[in-house]
């Protein structure tokens, strides 16, 4: 019985790990090419990968080919070249499009439930598994000779 519980927990863990792993589709191309400064290019890729394309809501603006995404990439690029911080760029976007534009919402009091939900679920699931397992272990086994 303990083995079953262990397997279930392991399956949960693997699911969570897969969900966290970064899927990397080919990025959309712009006429500008890469940023000259490699450090800026890295920041550019990270920021555009974390901004939602609001036209095709499950794609990031890094991956999307729609015109709005390309306009927003240009915006990010210009702000980076102007020396703006990552925070300033994210604030610029959320001021205009709302929190939904960010794939991972910042950890704030109002987002605690979002960030905490997986752990609450895991805890609840664990309690349920524990209780069920304990109850079953008290029952006689079906295949035991009577």
């Amino acid at each position: 019985m303990k083995l079953v519980a262990l397997l279930i927990v392991a399956a949960f863990g693997m699911g969570a790990a897969l969900a966290l792993a970064d899927a990397t589709p080919a990025p959309a191309l712009d006429a500008y090419g890469q940023l000259q400064d490699p450090a800026l290019q890295v920041r550019f890729e990270r920021i555009t990968g974390q901004l939602r394309c609001l036209v095709c809501q499950n794609e990031s603006i890094a991956d999307s080919n729609v015109e709005l995404a390309s306009d927003l990439r240009r915006q990010v690029r210009e702000m980076l070249l102007a020396g703006k911080s990552d925070d300033a760029i994210f604030t610029f976007m959320t001021d205009r499009y709302g929190e939904f534009v960010r794939f991972s919402p910042p950890l704030e009091p109002k987002t605690l439930l979002i960030w905490g939900a997986p752990f609450i679920m895991l805890l609840l699931g664990g309690i349920i598994i524990y209780r069920v397992a304990r109850q079953r272990s008290r029952l006689p086994l079906d295949d035991e000779p009577r």
Partner: protein, 179 residues
């Protein structure tokens, strides 16, 4: 006892969730605008019909106006055009157009063929004004009060019903409030 109450509670919680989530009248892609209650972003752009004439919403300070974002590529904009013409006929508030991701020639043709409901149509050449307004599609229609604050945003084609239900009461309230 809790074995009976718990499933009931879960059922009620799910029912409330589904009543909200599966409501067919809710547009799941429509997002609340963070601009509501905030100062409307200012723009000064060339007019679609007369490129040398500038259209600026700074000139509209003191009056309630509507900003309608559209483009000739947008099928739903064609769909709402009749309604916009009818609303413009009533002369309640000026409708300012923001032509977005478009070609000037096509836009001029559109207005000549279908009629022009706009007091002025700004031509957003590079999409920057649209970004400032948090536009992510078309049509989108904003209502701005006399103090230059965004009162309301409607995402979807405008209809006479939507105008009566969502816009008219807000315009009346804004005018009563002296804005």
């Amino acid at each position: 006892m809790w074995k009976f109450l718990l499933p009931c509670a879960v059922f009620i919680a799910l029912a409330v969730l589904f009543a909200f989530g599966l409501n067919p009248n809710r547009d799941i892609h429509a997002l609340p605008s963070p601009l509501i209650g905030k100062p409307a972003p200012l723009f000064t752009l060339g007019d679609v019909l007369e490129p040398n004439r500038l259209v600026s919403n700074a000139d509209l300070k003191g009056q309630v106006y509507v900003l309608n974002v559209w483009g000739t590529w947008c099928v739903a904009c064609r769909q709402e055009h009749e309604a916009l013409l009818a609303i413009a006929q009533q002369r309640v508030v000026p409708i300012i157009g923001l032509d977005y991701m478009d070609e000037r020639g096509k836009a001029q043709q559109w207005l000549q063929q279908l009629g022009n409901p706009y007091a002025a149509v700004a031509f957003d050449t590079d999409g920057r004004t649209a970004i400032d307004w948090g536009v992510y599609g078309a049509p989108e229609t904003f209502l701005v009060d006399g103090n230059g604050r965004v009162l309301f945003k409607f995402i979807s084609p405008m209809t006479a019903e939507v105008w009566q239900r969502e816009f008219v009461p807000r315009i009346d309230a804004a005018r009563r409030g002296g804005a």
